[in-house]
């Protein structure tokens, strides 16, 4: 068959296919195109193969090639996260992923809480150590922020509801940014994640130790205990996800390093989505609850309950199949 005949015979079908394509590309999800899209796509693939093997002109082959390419984009998709997948993520996937990656989570937690505890105790005993971690201006700011005597002069009242919003925005951009960086730098054989986790642990431990030795226990721990449950957990998870990336390059197992990295990246995304969620909750709690001027005992109880929730969620959620 000559090219011209072939084109004449098939061009109606191609035009029809192109119209369906345009509809799909515009994203009219509700106006589903005719059911015969896959069928037409297969016919088009055959036409393209025929045109190529019969050495029809490049213009024709190129045109069919483009249609095939666009059709492929519409027909084949990776599964996307629909609403049911989000529920599935909350009820099962996220806590399961944390339990599955218990080694990485354990190492990241040890690298965070270990240095935090160590430096906390050291700074408590030798307060001047704090100056090797922060500069004097930062230390002074921090002292002012948690000074119990400042509260009596109405610091709590000064912080009106619109400044809560300022802090909310600040916590979101700052903390999620740190979480993302902690994850991404893990690709450098885990070193970036380790460094950031240890560094954050040192700073938080140092600050806690310094303020405790000043006697600001109630203001400081009252402030951090509730959102800490989400924030500190999120940072260790981000570190764990980063370590997973790095470990895939160090010990790829039976796969090539590239394949191992791709698989680790795919698997670690559950943790990353979880980190985003935890940090959003943390920012909300930090901006709107932690800043409230309440009795230390109330803060302690609520904070303790939040830690229990987090522990229970990651310990037991999604253990049964009912979650599916």
């Amino acid at each position: 068959m000559k090219q011209q005949q072939f084109e004449q015979l098939r061009s109606d079908s191609w035009l029809h296919f192109e119209q369906q394509l345009e509809q799909l590309e515009k994203g009219d999800k509700h106006k589903r195109p005719a059911e015969d899209f896959p069928q037409r796509y297969r016919a088009l693939c055959q036409d393209k193969a025929l045109a190529q093997s019969r050495a029809y002109s490049n213009t024709l082959v190129e045109r069919l090639q483009q249609l095939v390419s666009r059709g492929h984009q519409q027909l084949y998709r990776h599964r996307s996260r629909s609403l049911s997948r989000i529920v599935q993520f909350l009820l099962a996937d996220f806590p399961r992923a944390v339990r599955r990656e218990w080694r990485a989570v354990g190492i990241a937690s040890a690298c965070f809480y270990g240095p935090a505890l160590l430096l906390g105790v050291l700074v408590y005993l030798f307060p001047e150590l704090i100056y090797s971690l922060m500069d004097p201006a930062q230390v002074r700011d921090m002292e002012q922020m948690y000074d119990p005597s400042a509260r009596r002069f109405g610091e709590g009242a000064l912080r009106s509801s619109d400044s809560n919003w300022v802090m909310f925005g600040h916590y979101i951009s700052n903390n999620i940014g740190i979480g993302f960086r902690t994850y991404a730098t893990g690709i450098i054989f885990g070193l970036g994640s380790l460094f950031l986790v240890v560094f954050n642990g040192l700073v938080i431990g140092g600050v806690a130790g310094y303020l405790s030795q000043l006697g600001f226990v109630e203001t400081f721990f009252g402030f951090v205990i509730a959102h800490g449950a989400f924030e500190l957990t999120a940072i260790t998870f981000a570190g764990a996800a980063g370590l997973k990336l790095g470990w895939s390059l160090i010990a790829p197992g039976n796969l090539s390093r590239l394949q191992a990295l791709q698989q680790a990246a795919r698997d670690s995304m559950t943790l990353v989505y979880g980190v985003i969620l935890l940090l959003l909750i943390a920012a909300f709690v930090e901006a709107f609850w932690s800043s409230m001027n309440l009795a230390f005992s109330t803060k302690l109880i609520v904070g303790g309950v939040m830690w229990l929730w987090v522990a229970a969620y990651f310990g037991w959620m999604g253990r049964t199949h009912a979650a599916e």
Binding site: M1, R54, E62, R70, H72, Y76, G169, I172, S173, I187
Partner: protein, 233 residues
């Protein structure tokens, strides 16, 4: 067969689909991607500037909104555009690029988030050096984020040349032609209008010996053969 294999000179990379045809993806190199990045950078800068002006009047509440906007634009701008707009950010759209999974399917949330979070590492130590080195050394022009997410930045379909064949009386080829000879003749006729007269003759001269044509008639004969090969309705 020589026709189906893509030329070795370009960066096209064939991908066999379940239907048994090859998709030809053409990964984009450093320069177009750099330009796309710069266009995006300008747009992002502009948006941040606009927000700064608009939100400064809202006082402290505005400041909170501003930091959320800044966060969204610095981390989520590429992700949202790539997933919701067929793999394109405005910069990539301008440069005719788009991001796809390495298997040719449209990019999804996870892959887009991986490749854009790992920008942090691609940027190290300065000016995207790690990303550029990775891009130049990898076969399919991928930066580190692309390697981890298994994605490619490819050219979108270019507009087609749809000019009709030039008019000429049909000529029957002197002997039955090989497929690649047929293709060469058809290509010659289709590109005829874009070539300079000298180049037309130069190309026709190459085919003269095997088709036993005389150089002065070669152009007209080739166009005639193309019309014959194409046939009529």
């Amino acid at each position: 067969m020589p026709i189906s294999s893509p030329a070795l000179l370009d960066t096209r990379y064939p991908l066999e689909t379940p239907e048994g045809v090859d998709l030809l993806l053409q990964p984009a190199g450093l320069l177009p991607r750099l330009l796309a990045f710069l266009v995006d950078l300008i747009i992002r800068g502009g948006i941040v500037l606009l927000f700064s002006i608009a939100l400064v009047s809202l006082g402290r509440f505005g400041w909170g909104l501003w930091s959320i906007c800044f966060f969204l634009i610095s981390w989520w701008y590429p992700v949202l555009f790539e997933v919701l707009w067929q793999g394109r950010t405005p910069g990539k759209h301008y440069m005719g690029l788009r991001v796809v999974h390495a298997d040719g399917t449209p990019i999804g949330w996870s892959a887009s988030l991986i490749r854009n979070l790992l920008r942090t590492v691609d940027m190290l130590p300065l000016f995207y050096s790690a990303g550029i080195i990775s891009l130049l050394f990898s076969q399919r022009l991928q930066r580190i984020g692309d390697l981890a997410a298994n994605t490619l930045v490819v050219y979108r379909e270019a507009p087609l040349n749809s000019a009709p064949l030039p008019e000429a009386p049909e000529v029957i080829p002197p002997h039955s032609l090989q497929l690649d000879e047929q293709l060469a003749i058809l290509d010659y006729a289709e590109r005829f209008a874009q070539l300079s007269p000298e180049r037309r003759q130069e190309l026709a001269d190459i085919l003269c010996p095997s088709l036993k044509l005389r150089p002065e008639h070669a152009q007209a004969s080739l166009l005639g053969m193309a019309r014959f090969l194409r046939g009529h309705a």
